[in-house]
């Protein structure tokens, strides 16, 4: 139980991830599915950045004015990459949704089943 309370931050991110996953699975609207995907991505980013945090640590900018401890720079760099990839995914998904709307006139997944 002690470990569970220590890792409260991580539990919050798991809950956020599940909110996103539920939106992605349960909502028929394609735009809402994309929003759900973005919520999941945000949860993962927050989780990884938090894992690189140090109590009382400074931002990893070593210019001589601050002496450690420093937060780990590696998760931050990885998540910067991840954010750019997430933007690319969102852009492509939005473009596909626009094209689906042009072709089929709807972006509801259950209505799209009937469109041949």
């Amino acid at each position: 139980m002690g470990a569970a309370l220590q890792n409260l931050d991580y539990f919050a991110f798991v809950i956020l991830f599940c909110i996103g996953l539920h939106t992605l699975v349960a909502r028929p609207n394609l735009l809402k599915k994309l929003l759900g995907l973005n919520i999941m991505e945000t949860a993962v980013f927050a989780f990884i950045v938090t894992s690189g945090m140090v109590d009382g640590g400074a931002a990893p900018i070593v210019d001589g004015t601050v002496t450690g401890p420093f937060a780990s720079p590696l998760p931050q760099a990885l998540i910067l990459t991840g954010i750019v990839v997430a933007v690319s995914i969102s852009a492509l998904a939005l473009a596909l949704i626009i094209e689906i709307y042009r072709q089929c006139g709807t972006i509801e997944a259950d209505e799209l089943k009937g469109v041949g």
């Binding site: 220590q6 890792n7 894992s51 109590d55 990459t81 690319s88």
Partner: protein, 236 residues
């Protein structure tokens, strides 16, 4: 039935994740394995080895430059894919009266024109100081891209008459991959590995110049790509 299925999917994902994070070291614990190996080496030797005081930039452009190269290619590929999807076939036009025409408020337009030079200077500063202070190519590129999007909105310039002329824009959109190609091949020539950096204390200026070129390429390319993504989605 559907709701039950969705709840089951979420539960199936949630239970292992909860069990997993419960066993992790507490966030902020300086003795966690995440801080004692790779990160400790980066913090200890990063400034000396990369020449970047901002270690995040050092990791992005030096230790893990391949990752960043891949990331630049991903966003470039996303632009290509969006162009391919949205330029296919004639758009199904809705009747003109159905399209809501909202005039931009003159106050908004004036304020955006007034602040534009300052936003541009801020964006360029974030790009150029990325190796010393918080910032970097992507962040500055997003600021510049947002500025270009705002100006496109208030001046009403769409794809047919974009802010940047089409031939120039094509090169600017490819600025990221091009910068990586140039710097990567230069590194191959003087350090023996693709995206390698010349070693030694005398090469500090050269390494700084290489990083600056990557940052500029990423920033300018990112801004142009963001503008084009926006223009294509806004349509005609």
């Amino acid at each position: 039935m559907k709701r039950l299925l969705a709840a089951m999917v979420v539960a199936a994902a949630a239970i292992p994740m909860f069990a997993g994070v419960a066993g992790l070291p507490a966030p902020g614990d300086a003795g966690a394995p995440a801080h004692t190996r790779v990160a400790a080496r980066y913090v200890e030797a990063g400034v000396r080895e990369t020449g970047a005081q901002n270690l995040v930039t050092g990791v992005l452009l030096n230790y893990r430059a391949y990752d960043t190269f891949g990331e630049v290619m991903v966003i470039f590929a996303a632009l290509a894919a969006v162009s391919a999807v949205l330029s296919r076939g004639p758009p199904a036009r809705r009747p003109a009266e159905a399209r809501p025409q909202v005039e931009t408020s003159p106050v908004v337009a004036f304020v955006i024109r007034l602040t534009a030079p300052f936003i541009a200077i801020f964006g360029v500063m974030v790009i150029l100081k990325g190796h010393l202070a918080p910032g970097g190519g992507f962040q500055g590129g997003v600021i510049l891209g947002a500025l270009l999007v705002l100006l496109s909105v208030v001046t009403g310039r769409g794809l047919e008459r974009p802010l940047l002329s089409a031939p120039a824009a094509r090169w600017l959109q490819a600025a990221g991959p091009l910068a990586f190609a140039v710097v990567g091949l230069f590194g191959l020539a003087c350090a023996g590995t693709l995206l390698g950096y010349p070693a030694g204390p005398g090469a500090d200026m050269l390494r700084a110049a290489m990083m600056l070129m990557l940052e500029l390429g990423i920033g300018i390319g990112g801004a142009a790509i963001i503008l084009w993504l926006f223009l294509q989605m806004r349509g005609e």
